[in-house]
């Protein structure tokens, strides 16, 4: 379910590092919690991001949520498909519905985030707390 080569945040974003480039999205857990996504607000290309900085919002039918950057870097691209098809986030959050691409300030920074196994344990613990 959660790609092994991605890194994950406690706020349920993922980052895929490819050399000095990073791709950022939200996790399947996050899309499920949000429910049907109806609108995504993206940052401008060129925006400088720091870890845990809010870079956009996702509106679902029920609520609006901020999206936080997992890493430092500069926004180089935003996913054009999401403007007309925000529901892609519900269908394919780990691939087609990537949100932004960034030029990483420090390609090693993401190593400090959770790997897939740690993230899966983290959401399992949250789900348990949720149903308790």
């Amino acid at each position: 379910m959660y790609p092994k080569d991605y890194r994950y945040t406690k706020e349920h974003e993922w980052v895929k590092v490819d050399g000095s480039n990073g791709t950022i999205g939200i996790t399947d857990y996050a899309q499920h919690e949000l429910g049907d996504v109806v609108f995504v607000e993206m940052p401008k290309v060129g925006t400088q991001l720091k870890p845990r900085q809010s870079f956009g919002t996702i509106e679902s039918v029920k609520a609006v949520s901020e999206i936080f950057s997992p890493v430092s870097g500069e926004v180089t691209e935003t996913n054009p498909a999401l403007a007309d098809s925000p529901e892609l986030i519900n269908k394919d959050p780990h691939a087609a519905a990537w949100l932004i691409k960034v030029k990483l300030a420090d390609p090693k920074e993401a190593a400090g985030l959770m790997d897939a196994a740690a993230y899966e344990a983290y959401i399992a613990a949250q789900a348990k707390e949720h149903s308790a």
């Binding site: 996050a30 919690e33 429910g35 919002t57 039918v61 029920k62 519900n90 949720h130």
Partner: protein, 379 residues
């Protein structure tokens, strides 16, 4: 995405006091519903998704467990007198087998709750009230009961299912000998559904044709499953409170705690049609008469956003750059494919077509006042 204790997030865990469960709780969980605490009840928020459920109700049918809703029964020779004192609509106009929408009033002419009043006989009324208000409503009614009447907090004796949508009648008809065509809008009759005794009311909270059926809780699982079997071939799906909210908002209906509460009057909420001054006195009627004479300081309007951002509950309404009110309910209207909302604004700014703004995360977003309801079903 989600931060702990971030109230914008939908992941906050509400579990605090003892949560109440309807007789269908385990069915909802088996169906994989996302559950939510609503008015102290553990209720399904959504099954397949709010958009899909909303669309099913507008175009086919949806089945809702609304057993959290409260029932209060008033019986006795003084039943009508009591109902007339505490509610603002004129229950003397109801025929046996007829229901109407009304308000349970404070002595200040504001809403203790909104409710449906069903006239079962000259000496017997069934009130359907909001889940979270049930106990308070009951106490309020008892407090004002100076009549030869007995009020019963009957919630635990009833489950309630809502079958809503253009195909609701045909689906329900497969399970009942009651001639549904002869139950007109806002009327009800007693009959068997799947062999189970029900009060079958042609009412709803979605803006579509449909029925709300009341029955003893022990039959809940069987009725649910028989209705699902009858409805599935016609495209009926189970629907949660998420779709119930988007449907009622699109239909311009008030929700207690949002458009109406114990600070708002029927005039302000655009509910003058349920406030019958000719039957006065009733609780708050003197205040309401004065307010009608002196004029209002605010009035409920509907708006639609002109761009893609969504004006949500609690966001400020700006007129000429000044805060003029707050959004009471706001969100996507899935069938209309617009972002809509309701809000209170000063009476001079309520004309349809008026340009307003909604303050969204520190920015002013263009919106326009539109007529209510946003959606009206084709007749």
């Amino acid at each position: 995405m989600f931060r702990r204790n971030n109230e914008k997030s939908s992941v906050t865990t509400p579990a605090t006091a003892e949560v109440r469960k309807t007789a269908l709780n385990s069915i909802h969980r088996q169906l994989g519903a996302k559950m939510v605490n609503f008015g102290g009840w553990d209720m399904p928020l959504e099954y397949s998704g709010i958009l899909a459920e909303h669309e099913a109700v507008r175009t086919r049918a949806g089945l809702f467990d609304v057993s959290h809703m409260g029932e209060i029964e008033i019986r006795g020779p003084g039943a009508l007198g009591l109902v007339q004192l505490v509610t603002c609509n004129n229950a003397a106009n109801l025929a046996v087998g007829q229901a109407h929408y009304s308000g349970l009033m404070t002595s200040r002419g504001t809403f203790v709750d909104d409710l449906l009043v069903h006239k079962i006989s000259d000496t017997h009324y069934l009130l359907c009230v909001n889940a979270g208000n049930q106990d308070h409503d009951f106490e309020h009614i008892v407090e004002h009961n100076k009549f030869d009447a007995k009020a019963e907090n009957a919630g635990p004796r009833y489950s309630q299912l809502a079958i809503q949508g253009p195909r609701a009648k045909d689906i329900l008809q497969r399970l009942t000998p009651a001639p549904l065509d002869s139950i007109h809008y806002y009327h009800f009759s007693f009959g068997k559904v799947s062999g189970i005794d029900c009060l079958i009311a042609r009412t709803g909270y979605t803006g579509e044709d449909g029925f709300e059926i009341y029955f003893a809780p022990e039959h809940s699982e069987r009725l649910w499953s028989d209705l699902m079997h009858a409805g599935q071939p016609a495209g009926m799906i189970p629907c949660g409170l998420g779709a119930r909210n988007t449907l009622r908002l699109e239909a311009g209906m008030c929700l207690y705690g949002h458009e109406i509460d114990d600070t708002t009057t029927p005039w302000e909420a655009g509910l003058g049609w349920i406030c019958k001054m000719e039957k006065a006195p009733f609780l708050g009627s003197d205040v309401l008469a004065l307010q009608k004479k002196d004029g209002l300081t605010r009035k409920l309007i509907g708006f639609e956003m002109l761009d893609k951002r969504i004006g949500r509950d609690g966001y400020p309404v700006l007129i000429n750059g000044q805060e003029a009110g707050r959004v009471t309910s706001g969100g996507p209207a899935p069938f209309l494919k617009k972002n809509i909302g309701m809000a209170y604004v000063p009476p001079k700014s309520t004309a349809v077509g008026t340009d307003i703004s909604i303050g969204i995360r520190g920015q002013s977003e263009a919106a326009r006042i539109v007529a209510l309801p946003f959606y009206k079903r084709p007749q």
